[in-house]
Amino acid sequence: MAAATMTTTLQVAVGLCCAAVAWMPEAAAEPTLSFDGFGTVGVVHSNEDRADFVSNVFAPDGAGHTRDLSPEVDSRLGLQLGSEFTPRLSGIVQVVVEQRYDDTYKPTLEWANIRFDATPRLTLRAGRMVLPIFLASEYRKVSFANPWVRPPPEVYQTVPATNFDGIAASYRRRLGSYDNHLQLVYGGKDTSTPGGGEIETRNGFTIANTIERGAGTLFASYSRTHITADGFAPLFDAFRSFGPEGEAIANRYDADDTPLNILSAGARYDPGDWFAMGEFALRESRTFIADFRGWYVTGGYRLGAVTPYLTLARVWVASNTSDPGLSNPEAQGFNAALNDLLGSAARQKSIALGARWDFAPSMALKLQLDYLDLDSDSSGVLVNPQPGFRRGGSATLVSLALDFVF
């Protein structure tokens, strides 16, 4: 891989650094800087014009109702600056430009962390970094690194947060022909939502393990965090004002520092000519946030530079998607709001057929057809439903994306 095309490595050897090196016995002669980027230019069309398809559940609008042909769903630019201060101490900053919760494109800081290689096997990091919940978490935004136009929403939308602020330890160990990578992370994250609300996660702890051997990869993770959704506090306060019966409802559904658990497992096998991968995810909390179960399987076959692929996916909800609410007639509005919230959880099956064409060394063109079969009385992963939208129907998406890395 030509360093010149993939990255621009600048050798920085200023006097200041040399002075610092003088009293750091382990430091290399010159710290290095590396600059890398990735991006996607994509458009999506949906045949359902009374709701929007989005790739990020926190996006306010997308393809379908808002735009017939939306460039907002998949387009993105990421820039990454890395620096090796010494052979054991390095830092990384990644900035991503994509559609935000407020429909702007202000650059957001995806990662900013300092990494210390305590031993060749043990690495410690602090700052903002990737949340290793899924098999492809670390590069879910680097579409070039993935077979699909976007990770299957049935699994990846169950945890829309991609990063967190905190600390992490990573331990890599080779056992015979097995390469094992264990990660422990601790931290939290504030996520803004389109309605102007904020979702806070605190005291989040994730343990993730990846085993690689030859062409095979196995991944599993468990995550436990405490979630607070302030935006819904007024609704639950209203329920509480109705006395014990209302308090019971509020306590059942309010997210106020409430534990949320996520369990996921995945596997990939990629011997070269073909590949297959799949993941399962389970999310659970005693809040209005649905208890999701989701899986997908993807397989593809490489015919020279063209890779046709097929994905099957399913997401369903194990918790209740409606609640009788309070019998008091004055509470009807609150009951309706609660049921709207519970009923909006994504439940659907989907099939995606696509092809990736690696037409140039650092670029790929992808065409993907998605057929979403929404469960009865569900909007599936569609958001922003308009008057006349029928739950439980179907939607067909056509997506074209150009992915690149530099």
């Binding site: 360093a3 990735f38 670390e138 590069y139």
Partner: protein
Amino acid sequence: MKSLAVAGFGLLLSAATTASAADVVVVVSSDSPVDSLSRAELADAYLGRVVRLPSGEPLLPLDQAESSAAYERFYENYLGRTPAQIKAHWSRLIFTGRGRPPPSLRDVETLADRIAATPNAIGYMDAERVGDGLRVVQLE
């Protein structure tokens, strides 16, 4: 007569395979402690998984230019992967800060000199380019 024809065909076939496999060979410095490597170890080294020598030192993989014929043949013959797959593989690691592709040398002469001078390095080149100070590695 028939069995002779089959034998002849088999000979032809094996000669053809040997020739294509001999195109690009894996080399180390003649001072290298490495005599032989398994294909899995070679793949690991070139995919960013650290392979340690008996001394504990990591094996240092070196690449030819991405645009070179040797690059393409090496990855296709020895790792069973196309340059596009290799690029996708590294973009998974680069954007996590977990690793960078092997250093890519300007031309095969620079590569040969670098390997000859670096006992823990490994590289690949056309068989006829293997010169002084280099040794071909047996792949198990």
